[in-house]
C-alpha cells in the first residue's frame, strides 16, 4: 500500500524550494538548476499519480518532461555562454535593463564581499622515496 499524499508532499517541497532558488539566486547556472529541480517536483507528482491510478499516463508524461528538460538545458547553456561572452559574468542582474524602462532596477548596490577564497588546507603527503631531479634546461617555453 502506497500513500499518495507522501509523494505529493515531497514533490511540493521540491517545487517550492526550486522556486525560491530561482527567485533569489543570481548565478545563471544556479537559476537553471533550480528550474530543473522544479521539474523534478512536478515529475514526482506525475509518477505518484500514475502509480495511484495504476495506468501509464503519468509515466509517459514524465518521459516527455525529460525530453523537454534535455532540450531546455541545451538551449539554456548556449544562451548562457552567449550572455557570458557579452558581459564576462554569469550575474543575471546585469541584464535587468532588458525589462521595462520605467521600472526600477531590482539591482541594489551591495557591499562587495571580499572574493578571496578562505585559506584552504590541502592534505600533504609525506615524502617517500627519492626526490626526482628536475632539469631546468629541458623545459621549453612556448
Amino acid at each position: 500500500m502506497i500513500v499518495l499524499t507522501n509523494y505529493l508532499i515531497v514533490g511540493c517541497i521540491l517545487f517550492v524550494l526550486g522556486a525560491i532558488g530561482f527567485l533569489t539566486r543570481r548565478n545563471l547556472i544556479t537559476l537553471m538548476l533550480s528550474a530543473e529541480m522544479m521539474l523534478h517536483g512536478v515529475s514526482l507528482n506525475f509518477v505518484a499519480f500514475s502509480n495511484f491510478h495504476q495506468n501509464m499516463q503519468g509515466q509517459t508524461f514524465t518521459a516527455f518532461i525529460l525530453t523537454v528538460a534535455a532540450c531546455e538545458a541545451g538551449i539554456a547553456l548556449a544562451l548562457i555562454l552567449t550572455l557570458y561572452k557579452r558581459t564576462k559574468s554569469l550575474d543575471v542582474s546585469l541584464w535587468s535593463q532588458l525589462s521595462e524602462a520605467d521600472i526600477d532596477s531590482p539591482h541594489e548596490e551591495e557591499p562587495a564581499v571580499p572574493t578571496t577564497p578562505p585559506a584552504q588546507k590541502f592534505p600533504q603527503l609525506t615524502p617517500a622515496g627519492r626526490a626526482p631531479q628536475f632539469q631546468k634546461e629541458t623545459v621549453h617555453r612556448v
Partner: protein, 256 residues
C-alpha cells in the same frame, strides 16, 4: 487563534523552514550557520514525522523516508550553497534521490532515464559551462542573493497553502468515503473497477494493471497511444539542437 491552535503542526515547520532557508541564503559575509542548519533539520523532521503517513510496509517506509529526506535536504543545500559547482553536485544528489522515489513508485525505466539524462548529461554540461565561465573562483554575485527574505516568505506561504490542501486535518479524515482527488489510499475496489468509470480518459491499447510499471507497458503507451507526441518530441529535440548550435557563440571561421 483557534485556527492557529488547530494547525500549529503545519504552521510551525513552515516558519522554522522559512527562517532556516532565509538564514542560509548567501548574503554578505559568510556567517555561522549552525543554528539555521539545526532549525532546518527540525523543520524537515517535523514535516516528516507528522505530515507523512507511514504506509505499513517497513522496508518501503524506510526507503521512502531515506530518499525523500535526502532529496529535501539536498534541495535546501543546493539553493543555498555559495559555490555554484557544489550546487550542481547537490542537484545530482537530489536527482539520485528522486530517481529512488521513482523506483519506489514502480517506474524503473524513468528512474534510470532520469539518472542518465540529468546526472549523466545535464549536470556534466553545467559543470563544463561553469568551468569555462567562472574561472575566477568566488564571485560577488554568488555571495549576495537577491532579497532572500521576501522570496523565502513567498515560497513558504505557497508551500503552506499546498500542504494545507494536501494534508487532511483530523476532523476531515474521520469520515471515510472521500472520493476523487482527496482520496488518499487507492482502495481495492477503485483499482479493480472498470477504468472508464473513474473519469480519467483511458488508453486504448493494453496499458492496464498487468502491464503497469514494466518497460512493455511504457513502450505500449508511448508508441501506441502517444505516437504523434513522440514524433513531436523527436522534432523538438532536433529543433533544440539546431537552435543551440545557432545560439552558441560564433567562432571565427576555420577554428573549431
Amino acid at each position: 487563534m483557534q485556527w492557529l491552535k488547530e494547525h500549529w503542526l503545519l504552521v510551525l515547520p513552515m516558519v522554522l523552514g522559512a527562517f532556516a532557508v532565509a538564514r542560509l541564503m548567501p548574503k554578505g559575509e559568510p556567517r555561522s550557520s549552525l543554528v539555521a542548519r539545526l532549525v532546518g533539520l527540525c523543520a524537515v523532521g517535523i514535516v516528516g514525522g507528522t505530515l507523512l503517513q507511514p504506509a505499513g510496509s517497513v522496508l518501503n517506509d524506510a526507503l521512502f523516508f531515506l530518499f525523500s529526506g535526502v532529496a529535501v535536504l539536498g534541495a535546501i543545500l543546493m539553493i543555498t550553497h555559495r559555490n555554484p559547482a557544489y550546487s550542481a553536485l547537490w542537484f545530482a544528489v537530489v536527482t539520485l534521490a528522486v530517481s529512488g522515489l521513482f523506483l519506489l513508485q514502480s517506474a524503473p525505466f524513468l528512474a534510470s532515464a532520469t539518472v542518465i539524462v540529468y546526472a549523466g548529461a545535464i549536470i556534466v554540461t553545467f559543470l563544463f559551462v561553469l568551468m569555462l565561465a567562472q574561472q575566477a573562483g568566488i564571485t560577488n554575485y554568488d555571495q549576495n542573493s537577491r532579497q532572500p527574505g521576501v522570496a523565502t516568505f513567498t515560497g513558504f506561504v505557497l508551500l503552506g497553502a499546498l500542504l494545507f490542501v494536501l494534508v487532511p486535518s483530523k476532523e476531515q479524515a474521520a469520515p471515510a468515503p472521500i472520493t476523487g482527488f482527496v482520496s488518499l489510499v487507492p482502495k481495492a475496489s477503485q483499482v479493480a473497477q472498470p477504468p472508464h468509470q473513474s473519469g480519467i480518459p483511458q488508453s486504448t491499447s493494453a496499458t492496464t494493471a498487468e502491464n503497469f510499471g514494466t518497460m512493455r507497458g511504457l513502450g505500449r503507451s508511448l508508441f501506441g497511444d502517444y505516437l504523434f507526441a513522440v514524433e513531436l518530441a523527436g522534432t523538438l529535440l532536433l529543433v533544440a539542437s539546431i537552435g543551440a548550435i545557432v545560439i552558441a557563440p560564433k567562432r571565427s571561421s576555420g577554428k573549431l
